[in-house]
Subunit: 399 residues, 2 copies
């Protein structure tokens, strides 16, 4: 097919951002249908498509209506976390390729449902984890593949993003985070940091997540934020938020590596994905943007970061990932510094060419499973809980 | 007493460093006895005392001999980890004040033995955790006490120190770390980072450690290091090190806070104690040396550390801890940037004046207990293990 016909489901803040900054500029796809629960968002979507010089799309407030092969070859699911999997499953059943935005799962069963539906239908499925296409993440991956870090033994990551404003105005802005923070205590958004780490550690391709433990701090950030801000609903000053302010999770892998994750969204801080990779010969740490290679350093350097921190960019000249080299030559496209353009393009190209999606249903299931597993571990006082092997043993041989 | 007479036990690398950089310059104490298992180290100690213009001390290779009230008012225990507690207990029983260097415990029983001996004898006991006197740690503590960070909900710390060289040459240098790394898998050195955090969270003074989970990565760093260095004993290339390269521990406190610790000593990296404090209004992070206060920042600052990192020193002008203000006026003394002088001085002054030791036996027991608890948690696949309450309930009321 020349251009993939895409139905966009979910035109809230993320959907609007993605349409505006990425989807409507791509020359290998066309938005033929838009859908959201709310009329005004649907109208925004239609207007955006027309404003970009494309024919008015089919529009509906019912997602079942846009999952129609006469309308669309693929669906991009940008709606609330809770709706991702049901929409993805129905689309696969109807033979409509699925590009599913990220978020945690609500149950392990739901992860299995995704996997089984894919296995039964063979419909293309891709998990749209943009951070797997981050420039620094890809450079580090490139350095690892060239052996510069030695054997990898430990990684860290986090979703460290002060979302107090977004959460506090969840009701007014019809956003899904508020309800999740009131009722759930878990690593609710693990995949931005875990995606690149899982790729580095060959998860589902010779390795797998074996077990995790999660521990949550008390919840104080949202109450305090409501007290400090007059424009926030005063009920939130004393509302009982189930979600702890900081959730720390440690995953153990089949090949012996550990991964530490932090969910950290309701206290003051600057944004970070805490991307950290530790090998026997070198490391990268995002929080001070440092590459540290045994081969580059003298013993005096060992005593202090600050002489060498913020040095990661100097490695780009030599170790820029080929995907980014090409991308920069052709001109950046898409939001969030270019990652969005790359991940959406990868999905559309896989659909166009009938090639495998680079982030597949087994990746989605394993990464999203962190959320319900962490919820149970926290509830059990940090007890280790088991990861399912969604490949049922195929991970030993898959590439 | 005018000058406290001190017996120094343990004159290995740490003992020599402390005598040379701190103990022999203090005007409120005098070294009257020196002891080490090895003759050559004892001789080094005698020579050092004499070189500093003091009378030759009593010397022995048997620590029982120097625990003698005719010789010494206090003992400073700077020997191998394994010997700390037995020496401390005998000294307390003999009425000799104990300044005990840091390290993890080998069993929970041994922590109880320390506590009970102290309770039975009333002999002064201080845990010599120098990092509680770190300049930045104390500034942060000062800011917290003034309410600038709001309510504290989460802290992090680590002993992140590339010790591959020290461990690899443990046999040649008669150092205790090698044997510990071969046979134990645990958070073996928790107190440098945990001490200041415990003080911030009022542990044993209105709060306590409740439980922990620990997970260890595989062990690859030491084998690889031996392969890369011709001068290292080749047996270490394939030796089976029990100790995982990175151990992550999460502690839950009675008042709901979480603490994450990293032991990270056998992979390439720069030194860090990863000191991090998170409150409802502000934070500090050592790895990029940043203070982040809600009140100081605009929304644009939230997206990137790098605009504001390395800003902690600018807060020293306003929030320097009074102890450090005084210390800097009087001139720095002692090793490790001044911390050693402060902690040793605090101990000697408590002994001289008969006042309580600021880091007491309950602190030592709770902080050192992390080691055997982490060992059992790792062995059980990360299962949560219980902290004893070494105060038996007194923590609710103690100040």
């Amino acid at each position: 097919m020349e251009k993939v016909r895409v139905a966009v489901v979910g035109i809230g803040c993320r959907g609007q951002y993605m349409m505006e900054h990425c989807l409507l500029d791509m020359d290998n796809m066309v938005v033929t249908a838009v859908c959201d629960t709310y009329e005004d968002r649907v109208k925004w979507g239609v207007d955006a498509v027309v404003r970009h010089g494309q024919p008015a799309p089919f529009a509906s407030t019912n997602w079942h209506d846009v999952l129609n092969k006469d309308l669309a070859d693929a669906v991009m699911i940008l709606s609330s976390w809770e709706s991702h999997v049901p929409i993805a499953i129905e689309a696969m059943q109807k033979g409509i390729a699925v590009g599913m935005e990220v978020g945690g799962a609500y149950s392990i069963d739901q992860c299995w449902d995704l996997v089984r539906t894919y296995e039964q239908t063979g419909t293309p499925f891709m998990f749209l984890e943009n951070c797997c296409y981050g420039r620094i993440e890809m450079m580090v991956m490139n350095m690892i593949k060239q052996g510069l870090f030695g054997e990898i033994v430990h990684c860290e990551g986090g979703y460290c993003h002060d979302l107090r404003d977004e959460i506090a105005f969840g009701k007014e802005n019809r956003h899904y985070r508020l309800r999740n923070y009131l009722h759930r205590n878990c690593e609710n958004y693990p995949t931005h940091e875990l995606g690149p780490i899982a790729q580095i550690l060959d998860i589902n391709r010779g390795n797998r997540f074996l077990s995790l433990v999660s521990v949550a701090s008390k919840s104080r950030g949202m109450n305090e934020y409501a007290k400090q801000h007059d424009n926030v609903n005063p009920a939130l000053q004393t509302a009982s938020f189930a979600q702890g302010d900081v959730v720390t999770t440690v995953i153990k892998c089949a090949n012996g590596e550990t991964i530490t994750l932090s969910l950290d969204t309701t206290l003051p801080r600057a944004y970070s994905r805490r991307f950290t990779v530790r090998g026997t010969l070198g490391m990268y740490m995002e929080d001070n943007n440092s590459i540290y290679l045994d081969s580059d350093f003298t013993p005096e350097d060992h005593w202090c970061w600050s002489k060498n921190w913020n040095n990661a960019e100097k490695y780009l000249e030599k170790y820029e990932h080929p995907v980014w080299e090409k991308y920069l030559k052709e001109g950046l496209r898409g939001g969030h510094g270019g990652m969005d353009g790359l991940v959406y393009d990868a999905f559309i190209e896989a659909v166009r060419n009938g090639t495998p999606c680079p982030i597949d249903v087994y990746d989605a299931a394993a990464w999203m499973a962190v959320t319900p597993l962490s919820e149970m571990s926290i509830a059990k006082g940090g007890a280790p809980v088991d990861f399912p092997d969604f490949t049922n043993g195929a991970f030993c041989e898959r590439i």
